[in-house]
């Protein structure tokens, strides 16, 4: 933790796929595996937290940034092993499966 380094205030998560049964999938809800969260009790802390799916793009926005964010929220636990269901403003693209997501620490209830 150097003086000028940005603080990391999120937990990494992996995109596992969409909510689905074997033959039907529901793209509006994605499944996320949050690092270090391995049981249903552990997910309670993360419920409601905002999730960011960040992509890099060639065009700059008005502030000069090339990063675009698709915001979402952790909705509920999925199963008993710490996987979590998230809904995003725009459904996650299928290319993102296996990709990285940032689970922020806000809105905080601590």
């Amino acid at each position: 933790m150097g003086k000028g380094e940005p603080a990391k205030l999120y937990v990494n998560g992996a995109i596992l796929g969409y909510k689905r049964g074997l033959r039907n999938q529901y793209n509006h809800t994605s499944l996320i595996k949050i690092k270090g969260v391995d049981s249903k009790e552990d997910t309670e802390f993360y419920l409601g937290k905002r999730v960011a799916y960040i992509t890099k793009v060639t065009a700059t926005d008005k502030y000069g940034s090339r990063f675009r964010v698709n915001w979402g929220r952790v909705c509920r636990a999925h199963g008993s092993n710490g996987v979590v269901r998230c809904k995003f403003r725009r459904d996650l693209p299928p290319q993102s499966i296996g990709g990285r997501v940032r689970v922020m620490l806000y809105p905080s209830t601590v």
């Binding site: 933790m1 205030l9 937990v11 270090g36 552990d42 802390f45 993360y46 806000y106 905080s108 601590v110």
Partner: protein
């Protein structure tokens, strides 16, 4: 919850054909007040039949008397509930915004529900600022802020200058340069003077406030005690 004037079910439960001569039968209101006598403060009586006011005190059927009470009487905006872990003097970790990761002292809760916070400025560069409790983690560390006077700082203190719309429209999209008024600098000095005294009295508190909070690679916030 308004007694439905168009209802075709009479008070006695008899179904009456709409449009028939007997359609206008005495019917009870759909909503019965819990108290016998509606409290004077709460009830906003919008419309009341003048006939048969004597029936009002009767619990149960009000036959000809139809009292319409607006739903807005039930809405009483309450002050925002601040988490129990956040009190004046608590050290907070800012989770988002320009000063994310910084540890900061909570001074008080403002009327709007936002928290008034100060770095102090000399310690970590955070000025007197407002922050929403949702974007903050409250630590168990407390500083004595009884000697700090922030009574003059309210939500109005942070209101933006109202320049004319036209000026802003012509100014364009570029972010405006922030100008810190002298008033703010003075208030900052005043608040921080008392704060820094409290901070210096606790060993390592200054270093603690200077340091940033950051999650390490194997950190699990759901297992942390703040």
């Amino acid at each position: 919850n308004h007694p439905d004037e168009d209802s075709t079910t009479a008070a006695t439960g008899k179904m009456v054909a709409a449009g028939s001569k007997t359609a206008k039968v005495a019917k009870g209101p759909r909503w019965y007040p819990a108290e016998d006598e509606p409290s004077k403060k709460k009830a906003v009586v919008v419309k009341q039949n003048e006939v048969n006011t004597g029936n009002r005190k009767k619990k149960g059927y009000c036959t000809d008397n139809q009292i319409k009470i607006s739903n807005t009487q039930f809405y009483h905006p309450q002050p925002t509930k601040i988490r129990a872990s956040i009190t004046p003097g608590t050290v907070l970790i800012l989770l988002a915004g320009r000063f994310r990761g910084k540890r900061v002292v909570c001074l008080k809760a403002l009327e709007s529900g936002l928290l008034l916070v100060s770095g102090p400025y000399k310690v970590n560069g955070v000025p007197i600022r407002r922050v929403n409790q949702a974007y903050v983690i409250a630590t168990s560390t407390k500083i004595d802020v009884s000697k700090v006077d922030v009574s003059s700082i309210t939500d109005a203190y942070f209101a933006r200058d109202k320049s004319s719309e036209e000026e802003e429209f012509f100014a364009g999209d570029e972010p405006k340069k922030a100008v810190v008024s002298d008033q703010r600098k003075k208030d900052q000095e005043k608040v921080d003077a008392a704060l820094i005294k409290s901070i210096d009295s606790v060993p390592l508190m200054k270093n603690y406030l200077k340091s940033k909070f950051s999650l390490g690679n194997n950190d699990k916030p759901h297992e942390m005690v703040f």
